[in-house]
Symmetry: C2
Subunit: 121 residues, 2 copies
DNA sequence: TGAACATATGATTATCTGTTCATATATTAT
DNA sequence: ATAATATATGAACAGATAATCATATGTTCA
């Protein structure tokens, strides 16, 4: 991830030098880490979390989501776009109505792990 | 989560009314969802993701983290505070040096699930 | 005690984000 | 074709956020 040589910044460095090189070796490429942060950023908004939670139970149309979440249709639409770009939700059109649903099970698992964490604290 | 009665916003609502009430029933309280978003917000920054990833392998002192991540000591310190507040990392002091490590296994699992998601796309 | 080192904190600033408002697109029914 | 409905999009603004700089705290050693 970082190519520059390591400086002996604090007296403990030499004790951990092998560990440091292991870290450097196993660190995913910067781009991957950036993408990962981008993904979690999507989960980092309560409106989007509510949308995802609502979709846990059922496929829902935009106006239903808006009501459940208690936010304007416009705001929901913007947020659904974010979720769509992150491939967290998919959609199908039926006449005038568009139905959204969870894209896959990662959403459930990620939110589940997060929930576990905050409930232990 | 939302107490107001549901409006018949689109023609599909009645088809899903039971699903909607199931959603409303199983939705965690607003405060929980807010906390959940706050947690994921912490994962939603590449500097913090890098810090957490570095701590996957080993307990590290601040200056080592700064070098590995390639960011100033000050910036790392600010971010470590965020991670600490979210109970994602813990620390111990040894003389002048402070060593940080992962607080528990949720960090690994959450990042692992995220990684799976981005690598499938 | 004072100098050197490791880390933390506060203020500032530039950038990013989410909502709102106005409007556009798409579909259906009359 | 026109109106009505469901959703999407663009611009703009307010609030949040992360890095930087200056400085403070805490620890060790001479």
């Amino acid at each position: 991830m970082k190519k520059e040589p390591l400086v002996d910044c604090c007296s403990f460095l030499h004790l951990h030098e092998d560990a440091l090189h292991k870290v450097l070796g196993e660190m995913p490429p910067d781009e991957t880490l950036y993408d990962l942060a981008e993904l979690f950023k999507v989960f980092g908004d309560s409106t989007r979390i509510k949308i995802l939670y609502a979709l846990f139970e059922a496929e829902l149309c935009v106006c239903d989501i808006a009501q459940l979440v208690g936010v304007s249709q416009t705001a929901i639409s913007h947020q659904l776009r974010v979720l769509k770009n992150a491939k967290l939700v998919k959609f199908r059109r039926d006449g005038k109505t568009v139905f959204y649903s969870l894209a896959d099970d990662h959403v459930r698992r990620i939110i589940g792990q997060g929930m576990e964490h905050i409930q232990e604290s």
